[in-house]
């Protein structure tokens, strides 16, 4: 950068030349801060050894499939990675740890970030469309699959296992990074529990005892087939009462539990406390949360896409049900293609390949922001029929922009905070990071005693919804928002 002759700014520093808009603000030269903890380096080495052990088993398939190989490989990776995070943060003073994020190749769209994006995207493509190429890798987790489910691993067991590992190890990172904040440690424990217990161990146990593999923490329309006639009749036809309970649970979760809990706690009860997709975003995705675009234009795109997905999955579900009662050639012709289309383009391509694969490039929660129809429903409920709000603390905001920068959902939090307004937005998942990073203590996530005092007009939610639906809301700007 160009250095002016005098360091002090006054009208005399007229020779000052600085293109502040196009400067890169790279890492300042000179010393690079504090060295990595030596034990963290040892832990990283352990993780590398674990990766090596797995690579050897991939190269020599005869060695794969033993508990020794499984534990030496995955065990070292998990212990090493968790230990690495633990020791990286151990000797730091508890508090916000965002130093050098914008200089990081991994976290700020550098070469490593792009490479990780390509790697994740490629992995999802293999998983969904070419699982035969993962065959050798899938065999690595056979010992665990046999123990938990009583049968060898398939690609979905393999995926569920890796997914859970990611949430657990990056959960350790969250515990350490946010150890000054109980909201974050409790929330992280919650997503770890729901992933490990309800989205991994329990479904596998159900398989072992011959019951349908059911995920109690996923509901329609995110787990869209749970209200499809095919799944419902399959569950009802299962011998015993458990299948019927699952159908009842799925319907109750969508139609009763979701609106009631959202009214009291906002969308967050699900998105950042229970959901597995949210769980992955809140743990593995945390290093990339600031990459989410914050512009009004991207907000407009998000709304257009997410509500379209909601309409499509609702239409698909309705058509499938109609088709079970009506036998018309016309319905027959579209029902099955709609189901397949949604499964391929939304279920696989959008929610997996793009929705997670693009984390290191487009910011975390790509799927949650742009595609998830469950998020769309929760969002409408939160925006109009909830007590949840992020309260702005009077006039304390000084517009620094930390809240907006670190919002993983792309909300321009500052735009509300600096005007002293509460933040009531459909997309807010209540992760609480805006409140944590605020250097002036301006933001607080809370549920008020009523839904009426959140924004002008919130005492008449139906009226507000009607105004929004008239057009301004879904396509409008910051003053007529959804």
């Amino acid at each position: 950068m160009n250095v002016p002759s005098s360091p002090l700014i006054d009208p005399q520093t007229i020779g000052y030349v600085f293109d502040e808009e196009h400067t890169n603000y790279e890492e300042p030269p000179g010393p690079s801060g504090h060295p990595t903890h030596p034990v963290a380096k040892i832990c990283a080495a352990f993780a590398a050894v674990g990766a090596l052990v797995l690579t050897v088993q991939l190269a020599a398939p005869d060695l794969a499939g033993s508990w020794v190989g499984f534990l030496a490989g995955f065990g070292l990776i998990v212990a090493g990675t968790s230990g690495y995070f633990w020791f990286c943060y151990k000797d730091t003073v508890p508090g916000i740890k965002h130093d050098r994020i914008m200089f990081s190749s991994t976290m700020h769209q550098g070469i490593i970030g792009w490479a990780l994006g390509l790697f994740l995207t490629g992995f999802y493509m293999l998983l969904y469309w070419y699982p035969e190429y993962l065959e050798r890798a899938i065999r690595l987790v056979d010992p665990l699959a046999l123990a938990l489910a009583g049968q060898p691993a398939d690609q979905w067991f393999f995926y569920g296992f890796l997914y859970t590992l990611a949430i657990v190890t990056f959960g350790v990172r969250m515990f350490m990074k946010y150890r000054h904040s109980r909201y974050h440690t409790i929330r992280t424990s919650s997503v770890m529990f729901f992933q490990l217990g309800l989205a991994f161990l329990l479904p596998q146990f159900l398989r072992k005892i011959g019951e349908p593999e059911f995920y109690f923490s996923y509901f329609w329309p995110l787990k869209y087939d749970y209200l499809f006639p095919g799944t419902v009749s399959y569950l009802l036809d299962t011998p015993g009462t458990l299948g019927s309970f699952m159908v009842g649970w799925g319907a109750a979760a969508t139609f009763v539990i979701t609106p009631v809990l959202t009214y009291f706690f906002g969308k967050r009860w699900y998105c950042s406390w229970v959901c597995g997709c949210g769980g992955l975003a809140e743990t593995l995705g945390d290093p990339w949360r600031h990459l989410t675009p914050k512009s009004t234009a991207s907000w407009r795109i998000e709304r257009a896409i997410i509500y379209t997905v909601l309409v499509v999955i609702t239409a698909t579900t309705v058509v499938l049900w109609l088709n079970t009662y009506e036998t018309s050639a016309w319905l027959d012709k579209i029902a099955e293609p709609m189901r397949e289309w949604y499964g391929f383009y939304i279920g696989a391509l959008f929610s997996g390949v793009i929705g997670v694969g693009f984390y290191p490039v487009l910011g975390t929660r790509v799927w949650c922001r742009l595609g998830c129809p469950m998020a769309a429903i929760l969002g409408i409920l939160q925006r109009f029929f909830s007590r949840f709000r992020i309260t702005t603390n009077g006039g304390q905001c000084m517009s620094c922009g930390n809240c907006t920068t670190y919002c993983e959902m792309g909300i321009d939090v500052r735009a509300y905070a600096e005007r002293g307004e509460n933040i009531v937005r459909a997309s807010c998942v209540g992760c609480g990071v805006c409140a944590a990073v605020c250097p002036r203590g301006v933001l607080k996530l809370e549920s008020g005693k009523t839904h009426k005092d959140r924004y002008p007009g919130s005492d008449r939610p139906l009226g507000a919804l009607r105004t929004a639906l008239k057009g301004v809301g879904i396509c409008g700007d910051k003053d007529g928002y959804v």
């Binding site: 002090l8 904040s181 909201y183 000084m398 203590g441």
Partner: protein
Amino acid sequence: MHVAIVGNGVTGVTAATRIRQKQPTWKISLISGESTHHYSRPALMYIFMGHMMYRHTKPFEDAFWEEQRLELIRDWVTGIDTPGKRLMLYKRQSLAYDRLLIATGSKPNRIGCVAEHLAGVQGLYGLPDLQTLYENVKHTRRAVITGGGLIGIELAEMLHGRGIEVTLLIKESSYWNRILPPEESAMVSRIIEEQGIRLIGNTRLREILDNGSGRVGGVLTDAGERIDCDFVGTTIGVSPNIDLLRNTSIETGRGVLVDDSFRTSVTDVFAAGDCAEIVNRNGRPNLIQQVWYTGKLQGEVAGSVIAGEERTYAPGIWYNSAKFFDLEYQVYGQVNLGLPGEKNLYWEHPGGRASVRIVYTDEGVIGFNFMGARGRHRICERWIVEQRPLSYVLEHLDQAEFDPEFAQRVAPAVRRMAKEQAA
């Protein structure tokens, strides 16, 4: 009607948007030599530390200015011709105005020693200083910062985060104790030292030493200690930036003299924000306020007045906040002023990283100070205005908490302590 605003800081921009609200057809120009767009000055430190990029510190999208028809002029104003109603600019010829708002902010105080212009000596106020800092840290292993205010500790945090050894020289006995009560000041001093920063109290900088090649080599304190360093941060406060008005008929004191509607001595010329000195006609001292919030409030009132609305500035109950490394600080009302009849209820968490102070008199509560805890602005303000007695405040203290959910509660602990003290 053309309104020209000199300075695109929070005051100038707040005034501009306010004028636009009231006067949709007026022409409004914002002139700044420092940056094309308005940015949040308090966020400078986060750019350097890598928490944010410069673009993140801009409160408005770039399209906002065009949408609002606010013309941005990147230039320095070099003079004002008040009779001719023209601004002299550095790059352009000149600019005619009908009404003028001077919102030039502050400039850092100089320490007034000969060696102040050595390479490696700098303050931290605006983007030019950030630019200089990038150059200076190349050569910096050890830094001395003089000045025990908010910018001093920010600069200390920025340099410390780069692994630079930092010494903080303050003229007070403990950090910022003109503003912070003794216990809170001690808490911050402790936090600074825990970070590994050397804090030297009761000491001033006497001399900056040349290393022989035009760069800083060290400093000499008034206690006679020599500290070797390659960087000197001068953060000893700011003064109204009024150099521009030197040869004009606009009356100045320490700042631009204005009435409580921000009118200067010259018709159609207004001044607000850090650069303004509000003349008090009731025999009390004039008012110069140099924090973000007052800049914003003053800009709002000045904008309304310029747009033709009759308003006077009533700052209301004082508030402010800051963050010292990881320790948050919020203040509401009058704290540490030693007013007659003032009593303090002070609770500190045994860990020494959180405290609540309630200041009250026989008439009622007058101030709150929170460290490592967050207080609810509207509640604290209301209780001060309503002069609630201490007993009421204690009973309802939960309403004043603003800490995140599940955080350790402070209100019950404060109440318990108050009860024990009473017993």
